[in-house]
Symmetry: C2
Subunit: 202 residues, 2 copies
């Protein structure tokens, strides 16, 4: 039985994007499957008192440098979005619609949204940007964008955020595998060794 890596991400998180470009290869190497969970960090921060990295004194400037440098280190393409951060509510709801009703496409859609934002500087908070990405994933864009305004699909995202908070997800990317939490793209090598060696004594 494959282990499942639960991958929590906010679509406007640079480190989550950097993880999104690496997690499938890690899962393949370790024989795991990945369950992708879009969340909205803004709602998490209301509970934790957290704040966007780039809004913090000193840490903000450092982070802007470290996003780009980390991308070089991980060998992942990266372009700092000109509008940053953004509210990715509609995109996140569209992913959860696809996860429920077009399961095989939701990961492809997620990666295309991340890439549009962090490789092509497209503002994925806008419906006209999301629509062609939905179509490219074989999804009826107009119908799904309309569905993101229904109580049902709003509820999908609210449930993911509530579950993330219940699992103590305080930032993204956040991974949980066999109950073990890992926070940050920089923890991927540690998670890989943890999975390979089984639980450590510590």
């Amino acid at each position: 039985m494959s282990k499942t890596i639960h991958f929590y991400f906010d679509l406007s998180s640079p480190y989550a994007y950097l993880a999104s470009e690496q997690i499938e290869a890690l899962a393949a190497r370790t024989g795991c499957v990945v369950d992708w969970h879009p969340i909205m960090l803004g709602f998490v921060f209301k509970v934790t008192g957290g704040a966007p990295l780039t809004s913090l004194p000193m840490k903000g400037d450092y982070s802007m440098l470290d996003f780009k440098r980390s991308a070089v280190f991980y060998d992942v393409p990266y372009l700092q979005p000109s509008v940053f951060p953004i509210a990715s509510t509609t995109a996140a709801r569209a992913i959860l619609w696809a996860k429920k009703y077009a399961n095989s496409e939701y990961i492809r859609l997620t990666k295309s949204l991340f890439q549009a934002y962090f490789q092509l500087d497209q503002d994925i908070s806008k419906n006209e940007v999301i629509a062609p990405l939905l179509r490219a994933s074989g999804i009826d864009a107009d119908a799904v964008i309309a569905a993101t305004q229904t109580d049902e699909v709003k509820g999908f995202l609210k449930a993911e955020v509530d579950a993330a908070i219940a699992h103590k997800v305080f930032g993204t990317p956040y991974f949980i595998v066999d109950g073990e939490p890992f926070w940050g793209a920089d923890r991927l090598p540690m998670m890989e060794r943890w999975i390979a060696k089984g639980a450590w004594n510590y």
Copy 2:
């Protein structure tokens, strides 16, 4: 001419301790020298609005787990101190006294203080704990502990903290090499590659 890695640390920072056990080998591999800078994060947080990791909702519990797990990952001994965090003012001033007046001993003293706290669970905020460590580093413990209360030696620490803030050091461990900042024990592999390859384009 060797490059200098400036290493800023708070003696009660677990990740700074984990870095202290690795930085000399990294410097040897890259042909660098290390300039060790004890600072007090409490004073930095007054400027940045930062807070000790373990005081933060959710992040605190995660951090306590990640300290120990990171130590296993880095193959560094680690014992979570029972009194944590502590104000390491006297110990930091003693290091700066040693750096000025017994230069060859200050790194040995620094490492012995970190190890006493994070390997032996000794409370290095107490003079009776610091004294034997000073003696083991060939330093007149009574004289130096008395010196830590003088305006001169208090000024050494204040100058380090002010310089750190001027260099935008917002947490520890923090490294600056050739003007490039790296924050966190988890950035050591990135710093090593950065030094080896020279400045990256990003």
